[in-house]
């Protein structure tokens, strides 16, 4: 009997689909990486920039500075402190709002009777009210998230003036939306056993929620909050590019003056701080997920003695105290956050801003019908092309990041890049070989860490100086940053994967790579795909704002119209970007749900 396997599984179809999409994107982008004027020498520019990496500046490169000006290092440390300060201020606003909205976006605190089909009129009314609250909260967080923080900053600055507090509020808004979304997902994913049991014992649904479900989700909530703080530091640095005094502003000024050695000092400082928070985050994550070991045996069974010897991690209270002190210090110490220098009052500015948001023809005629030709004109002249460019840049960058990430991920995983893969004996191994395996994993993990530590906006800004203003620098910048993020997430997936299958394959004589490809990849494939979709949505948002660096994506037109105070046109491009995010969010949610469903069978 002739045996034939089925032709195409959905997994293979997905991989083939992704590769085809990558080819289409690359052919659209073309392969002309350098688009500087003919007189420019890109290799010389690249050489002088990258060679400066080996000799970062410790003193000012600008020799014409007055003698009494502050030394470079002091200036940079101040800029770095400002970066941290604004990140802490923004997060201290975003976390409580995110928690409140996250609670409203979860259905797990609803009384059980309201979660199912309502029968009596009061129950129906209560259910309708709760549904309204739920849907409004969901819509709010999606809207907050769908506009990039830099665009929120530009919008807020247009009517509140360019004070650091305005920037922090604008930063807090999308962060609160993202926190709320993830918080609600974390809360909903917890097992309902404990809350059900408490409700059966007579507790109300809300008290059961706070007594059982919330404490269950707390470790994940804290871990994610720490991760968002790391993101807030990166975003705070980027605020420098729109004039707020953070390390980003120093990078921008040094680069524009060709002080490359200073640029590298600034980059190293930023990378160091982001890496510090990343490492702290991973240490805290480990401690939150692992029970502490008993430090000493209690001498007696008194409460005091038991409490003294109770297993606990020292790092956790220390971290929470530091974060709390940091937030209080960010609000109270240093120069005032709320400074306003304009001659026009904030109220007048706000009024003008909101008047200008109404489309120009409508303002003139008072007829909303006149807005339609205006909208059509904007769409056909620039909107359509900008939108396509935005999606093209985001998709190409993500697919490139995924391809390179996929190649390196096995070697970054701690259970593969080790002398004893999957905790199995690997024969007599020399010390050098053992050292090489451990070093390989460490180097790749550090590469992931460095690439995700530098904000994509800064990478793109630097690359445009070397390659010229076109789409490729943005694609490369987004790809580098996402390569670091995907690499870390995927490496964690394979590290947390059940090792039994891969170990069995190693024991059957398979190599570590064969065991990874045949034992881990098939079952972790869905999870890896989920991360690609999650990053795609983020990439679309990022590629929108990267256009502000003079490349014709949506961000370019947003920044142009903003500088000409054409707020109505600016709003059109912002809403176009928001629509893309809404659609990509919907696609992403649907695909994730499908993948989760198919993953749950595996």
């Amino acid at each position: 009997m002739r045996v034939k396997p089925p032709i195409l599984s959905w997994r293979r179809a997905t991989v083939i689909g992704f590769l085809c999409l990558l080819i289409v994107c690359l052919s659209k982008l073309g392969f002309e990486f350098n688009q500087l004027p003919e007189s420019a020498d890109p290799s010389a520019a690249a050489y002088s920039f990258f060679s400066a990496a080996l000799s970062p500046a410790l003193v000012d490169q600008n020799l014409s500075l007055p003698a009494d000006s502050q030394p470079l290092i002091i200036r940079l440390l101040k800029a770095l402190l400002n970066t941290l300060r604004y990140a802490f201020v923004a997060m201290s606003m975003a976390v409580p709002v995110g928690l409140a909205l996250g609670f409203l976006c979860s259905r797990s605190w609803w009384p059980t009777t309201l979660q199912h089909k309502a029968t009596s009129i009061p129950t129906k009314l209560a259910r309708t009210t709760l549904n309204l609250i739920y849907l409004s909260a969901r819509f709010s967080i999606t809207f907050m998230r769908s506009i990039h923080e830099l665009i929120w900053v530009m919008l807020f600055m247009a009517f509140l003036g360019d004070s650091p507090l305005t920037a922090c509020i604008a930063l807090a808004l999308p962060f609160a939306g993202t926190l709320a979304k993830v918080f609600s997902e974390i809360i909903d994913e917890q097992s309902a056993n404990a809350t059900d049991h408490l409700q059966l014992s007579g507790a109300s649904s809300v008290s059961a929620f706070f007594a059982a479900r919330f404490p269950q989700s707390l470790p994940d909530l804290l871990t994610y909050t720490l991760y968002r703080l790391e993101c807030a530091i990166r975003s705070s640095a980027v605020l420098g590019f729109i004039g707020i005094e953070t390390i980003g502003l120093s990078i921008k000024q040094s680069y524009e003056n060709n002080y490359y050695n200073e640029v590298w000092t600034e980059l190293y400082l930023l990378i160091f701080v982001v890496m510090l928070f990343d490492v702290l985050g991973s240490k805290v994550r480990y401690r939150l997920s692992t029970p502490a070991v008993e430090r000493s045996t209690p001498t007696d069974l008194s409460l005091k003695s038991l409490k003294k010897c109770a297993p606990s991690w020292k790092l956790l209270p220390l971290t929470w105290s530091l974060l709390l002190v940091g937030s209080i210090a960010a609000w109270t110490l240093g120069p005032p956050l709320n400074v306003y220098h304009s001659a026009i009052s904030r109220w007048d500015r706000t009024q003008v801003f909101f008047e200008e948001l109404v489309p120009e023809p409508v303002r003139a005629s008072n007829h909303w019908n006149d807005a339609l030709p205006w909208l059509r004109d904007l769409w056909t002249s620039n909107g359509k092309e900008a939108l396509l460019n935005t999606v093209l840049i985001a998709s190409s960058a993500l697919l490139l990041a995924a391809v390179f990430g996929y190649i390196l991920v096995p070697w970054a995983s701690r259970n593969i890049s080790t002398p004893t893969p999957f905790s199995s004996f690997n024969g007599r191994t020399s010390r050098i070989k053992k050292w090489l395996w451990s070093t390989l994993g460490f180097c790749i993990r550090t590469l992931f860490l460095i690439t995700r530590s530098i904000p994509e906006y800064i990478i793109a800004f630097l690359l445009i100086g070397i390659l010229g203003a076109h789409a490729w620098p943005l694609v490369i910048a987004l790809a580098i940053h996402n390569f670091g993020i995907l690499g870390r997430l995927w490496a964690e997936v394979s590290e947390n994967h059940d090792e039994n299958v891969a170990r069995q394959q190693v024991v059957s004589g398979g190599s570590r790579l064969q065991a990874y490809l045949c034992g881990i990849l098939p079952t972790s494939f869905n999870r890896q795909l989920l991360f690609i979709f999650y990053r795609w949505e983020t990439c679309v948002r990022e590629s929108t704002i990267l256009g502000m660096l003079s490349i014709s994506s949506l961000g370019y037109y947003i920044s142009i119209e903003s500088s000409f105070l054409h707020y109505d046109r600016m709003l059109f491009y912002i809403l176009l970007g928001t629509a893309v995010i809404f659609i990509s969010d919907l696609i992403s949610i649907n695909l994730r749900a499908k993948l989760n469903k198919s993953g749950s069978h595996s």
């Binding site: 009997m1 002739r2 045996v3 034939k4 396997p5 089925p6 293979r12 199995s424 004996f425 690997n426 024969g427 007599r428 191994t429 039994n500 299958v501 170990r503 069995q504 394959q505 190693v506 024991v507 059957s508 004589g509 398979g510 190599s511 790579l513 064969q514 065991a515 490809l517 045949c518 034992g519 098939p522 079952t523 069978h601 595996s602």
Partner: protein, 248 residues
């Protein structure tokens, strides 16, 4: 031939194997018995080369496993088929793909991926022949996680047979199935071993099955081998002593 000489193994402060001596000839069928935590699984893992001994020596076909370099160890491993207690099947791959993974150690990286994605007709026919031997030929292209526990155990046995190893190690292969299925699975496993002249070492909790299907029993307690002899020689007194039932 398998030889263990004064073997010690520990995990942290837990002693898993304590001064074990064992010799098993080619083609022998041996059941490992003993209470939970007695060291049966640890012994099988050492024989499968998953763990290296802390002290003592393990020789397989005359070669000391502890002194092999990784390449030589890989060659030895191709000759040992290990069925762990959790079966270690890739749940969302097809039955055929899981069985094809049995020869992963004998193939280069690209060949193993090609075999997994586009298996040749010859390979598939061989897989189906083995599946027929274990009684589930119709499941060739089914997803492994859609199979019952007993069927998955048969897939794991089929994978071990496909590996064409001379030694099969099975850790509690019938722990998750009902008595009638357990009976047929063990019958299948021992018949296959006899048919292909394979050495079979199997850890079991059920003494009745151990005595029925295996001519030789090795009893373990607290990491030590406390009984090694013919099944027919294993008495009630040995049983009581092995499970410490006489301590009241």
């Amino acid at each position: 031939m398998i030889e263990l000489d004064r073997s010690h193994l520990n995990f942290g402060s837990t002693l898993a194997l304590d001064d074990c001596d064992l010799s098993i000839n080619e083609g022998e069928q041996v059941a490992l018995i003993g209470p939970s935590g007695s060291g049966k699984s640890s012994l099988l893992r050492v024989l499968a080369t998953e763990h290296a001994l802390v002290s003592g020596d393990y020789r397989h076909n005359g070669r000391s496993i502890g002194s092999l370099c990784s390449k030589a160890l890989k060659n030895q491993r191709c000759d040992i088929a290990y069925i762990p207690q959790n079966l270690a099947l890739v749940s969302n791959l097809k039955v055929s793909q899981n069985i094809l993974l049995g020869k992963i150690g004998r193939q280069q990286l690209l060949a193993s991926i090609k075999g997994l994605l586009i298996p040749s007709s010859n390979e598939l026919q061989l897989v189906q022949k083995i599946l027929s031997e274990v009684g589930i030929p119709e499941k060739l292209f089914h997803r492994t996680d859609s199979l019952s526990g007993g069927q998955q155990q048969r897939v794991a046995i089929a994978r071990a047979l496909y590996q064409e190893a001379s030694l099969i190690l099975a850790d509690e292969p019938v722990s998750a199935v009902d008595p009638s299925r357990a009976h047929s699975l063990l019958e299948c496993l021992t018949q296959m071993a006899t048919k292909h002249t394979l050495t079979l070492i199997c850890s079991l909790h059920n003494l009745e099955y151990a005595k029925k299907f295996f001519p030789r029993l090795v009893g373990m307690r607290e990491g030590k081998i406390v009984f090694d002899g013919k099944s027919s020689e294993f008495t009630d007194q040995d049983f009581n002593s092995l499970y410490q039932l006489d301590r009241g």
